[in-house]
């Protein structure tokens, strides 16, 4: 028995089975949650690389699976990451019960998690680019459900992710040449350009960011948020693997300057645009872009590798508050979509003019939506606040301008939150306040809102464990 067999092959088979059973959507969701929780629990307790004793049986749990001459390795150090991935998956599946996402959400979501685990496990790690492309391909039916026109955002998403793969793969070959050759080799310039382009396509970095907002407008909000979140997470891991593998890249000061410049640009653009959007889905899209910009800013504070470990700790600690805020935001939008103004398409239903006054009928949903927005803005007592505080502090030590920009980006999201709140609760005076969410929606929305507050008030219960995930990247440690 090998660990990749348990966390890659078996969930992949299971995803296939769930795909066949998708007609019974409730059962599929429950089974999906169950399997994800079991995999997360097993990742937590399983002695990877050791022997498991079950009664009279002794099973050796190796960490390597060889396929076509290449290795997939999930060692004991990856166990916290596996726990996080499958726990997060169970969390997103849980929300899908009331989000009314497509019945493909659970099977494809499990397939995506499986492939992303494979992307983390494959050696050489550069082949992850191919696996990430496969994730893009299998996510298309989820993003663009059958019997609906294919949106331009979907096409752009497919195009950009497909173009990223060759760039990153080819960079791998160039970087090998860089290591073998002199430091001022022409390969360094070419490698850096291709790598930057590849990651710009993958992470939707300016000016290749347009697909995020287009997709956020076209697709079901819960599906969109899930894709944005999981993609950014895995590509972040992939990017950090580059920094870990190539010491010359990690210690290059130019790289951090580039990160800072692009980060500032993204936070400014996204922070400004989010405040003026008239579509709740597009607001989510710009918030995603701002988070990417902030991630770049925090890595840029790594100061040519000297403080990279502490920067990465902040990055990893932000996984929970960010995921929670995106999920609550998307769940609230899904509920608004269900109770839409006669239109079933998110592009029309989630326009601000279409949801005006909805707050009086759905106060819990609106409260959770605004809380999620405030959390991403870094508002005190919300889940995002402790992380923002650490981020502002770390970034300010390197660049005051970057810290001010990060703060202003938060103001942009805060403005959009206040604006949304104003529009959603404004209505005719004779419309009474009432709670019209279903019981399931009420429970999940309340849980989400409480989660945002709980993580914000007691960050010490949750965030240190996540911050320690940075220890997986041993080469980066000072």
């Amino acid at each position: 028995m090998t660990s990749p067999l348990i966390w890659i092959v078996m969930p992949a088979i299971y995803a296939g089975i769930l795909l066949v059973l998708r007609r019974w959507d409730r059962i599929v969701v429950v089974l999906g949650i169950l399997v994800s929780l079991i995999l997360a629990w097993f990742a937590w307790v399983a002695p990877i690389g050791d022997t498991i004793v079950i009664g009279p049986w002794r099973v050796s749990l190796d960490d390597t699976l060889t396929i076509l001459g290449r290795r997939f390795v999930l060692s004991a150090t990856d166990a916290p990451l596996l726990t996080l991935i499958y726990l997060g998956l169970a969390f997103w599946f849980g929300g899908s019960i009331v989000a009314n996402a497509s019945n493909l959400f659970v099977p494809i979501g499990l397939g995506i998690a499986t492939l992303l685990t494979a992307a983390i496990a494959v050696e050489p790690f550069l082949y992850s680019a191919l696996i990430i492309e496969l994730v893009t391909i299998i996510s298309i039916p989820l993003i663009s459900p059958p019997n609906q026109p294919v949106g331009r955002g979907t096409l752009r998403y497919l195009t950009f992710q497909t173009l990223a793969m060759p760039l990153v793969l080819f960079t791998g070959w160039i970087l090998t040449g860089v290591e073998a050759g002199p430091p001022d080799s022409v390969f360094v310039v070419h490698g850096n350009i291709l790598l930057a382009l590849g990651f710009a396509f993958m992470l939707a970095i300016f000016p290749f960011h347009t697909w995020v907002t287009m997709l956020a407008e076209e697709t079901h909000p819960y599906v969109g948020a899930f894709i944005f979140y999981t993609f950014s997470l895995v590509i972040t891991f992939f990017g950090i693997s580059f920094l870990e593998r190539y010491a010359w890249l990690r210690t290059s000061s130019g790289l951090y300057d580039l990160f800072r410049l692009v980060g500032i640009l993204m936070v400014v653009v996204a922070g400004l645009w989010v405040a003026f959007q008239r579509h709740l889905g597009r607001m989510l899209g710009y918030a995603v872009l701002m988070e990417t910009g902030l991630s770049l800013l925090v890595v840029s504070a790594g100061l040519a590798g000297e403080h990279l470990a502490s920067s990465l700790s902040i990055l990893f600690a932000s996984i929970l508050p960010r995921g929670l805020a995106f999920a609550v935001w998307a769940l609230a939008l899904s509920i608004l979509l269900r109770a839409g103004n006669g239109s079933v398409t998110p592009a029309i239903s989630l326009r601000l003019e279409g949801v005006q006054g909805k707050g009086r009928k759905m106060p819990l949903t609106i409260a959770a939506l605004v809380m999620a927005m405030f959390s991403l803005a870094g508002f005190p007592l919300m889940a995002g606040f402790p992380i923002r505080l650490a981020l502002w502090d770390t970034v300010a030590k390197v660049s005051t301008l970057a810290a001010i920009v990060a703060l202003l980006g938060g103001v942009g999201v805060l403005t959009s939150g206040l604006r949304t709140l104003g529009i959603l609760i404004t209505g005719a005076d004779d419309v009474p306040w009432m709670v019209s969410e279903t019981r399931g929606e009420q429970v999940l929305i309340l849980l989400g809102g409480m989660g945002l507050l709980l993580v914000g008030i007691f960050p010490q219960w949750f965030l240190p464990a996540l911050a320690h995930l940075a220890n997986i990247y041993l080469n980066i440690q000072p």
């Binding site: 396929i67 076509l68 001459g69 290449r70 082949y127 191919l130 696996i131 492309e133 496969l134 391909i137 299998i138 298309i140 039916p141 663009s144 459900p145 059958p146 019997n147 609906q148 026109p149 294919v150 331009r152 096409l155 497919l158 195009t159 497909t162 173009l163 793969m165 060759p166 793969l169 080819f170 070959w173 022409v186 070419h190």
Partner: protein
């Protein structure tokens, strides 16, 4: 890296991909388009087989042809009447062709493609110098596919054409990558990506119909 006897077929292979990728830009009929795509994969196979063992290189040809067959099946299997973006019924002919190219647009495409081909021929010697294991003809073939694929992507928003353009671009990359990396897993994964893109193209075709050509 070992070089096979296919090096003598490199020039015909490069010319084949040049011809097919230029025609792919200009031709509107989906049958001709997909036939050109299938022929293009023969050229790609020849250029990849220079560095890769015959058996592994064959995966490119087989995957490419299966991808083309998938697209053919999807288009020919769609019902005669479909609904457009605005839910208006579309005629069978409109649904199956890729409409919208005027004469001026056609001339523009051909001229742009010709200019790109000239740039490729200028850039190719430098690139061949930069990647020591690669031949001039391979670089020409690869860069033509990459650049014309990108041009195609920039000129269309029709899902089927986007997928054809992506397959073309990917083929260009595969030729260059074959010269620097021989791995069965990579060959397998790239074949899966090719088939996956074709499946998505088929899915797009079945799920909805195209949009306006630029």
């Amino acid at each position: 890296m070992e070089i096979s006897g296919f090096q003598y077929l490199a020039m015909p292979g490069a010319l084949l991909v040049l011809l097919t990728s230029m025609l792919l830009l200009a031709v509107q009929d989906w049958r001709v388009c997909l036939a050109l795509l299938a022929i293009q994969y023969v050229g790609v196979f020849v250029l990849v087989a220079i560095h890769w063992p015959m058996i592994i290189a064959l995966t490119k040809l087989v995957a490419g042809w299966i991808a083309t067959a998938l697209l053919v099946t999807a288009i020919s299997g769609t019902p005669g009447l479909a609904h457009g973006v605005d839910q208006t019924p579309l005629k069978s002919t409109q649904f199956r062709s890729m409409p919208g190219l005027s004469i001026s647009a056609w001339i523009f495409r051909i001229l742009t493609a010709a200019m790109i081909v000239l740039v490729v021929f200028t850039m190719a010697p430098l690139t061949a110098e930069w990647i020591p294991t690669i031949q001039f003809e391979e670089v020409v073939g690869a860069l033509i596919l990459l650049c014309l694929g990108l041009l195609h992507l920039g000129l269309t928003a029709i899902p089927l054409r986007v997928v054809i353009a992506l397959l073309t671009t990917l083929s260009g990359f595969e030729i260059i990558y074959a010269a620097v990396e021989v791995s069965t897993l990579v060959a397998g994964l790239l074949a899966v990506v090719t088939l996956g893109l074709a499946l998505i193209g088929a899915y797009f075709q079945i799920a909805s119909v195209g949009e306006v050509e630029t």
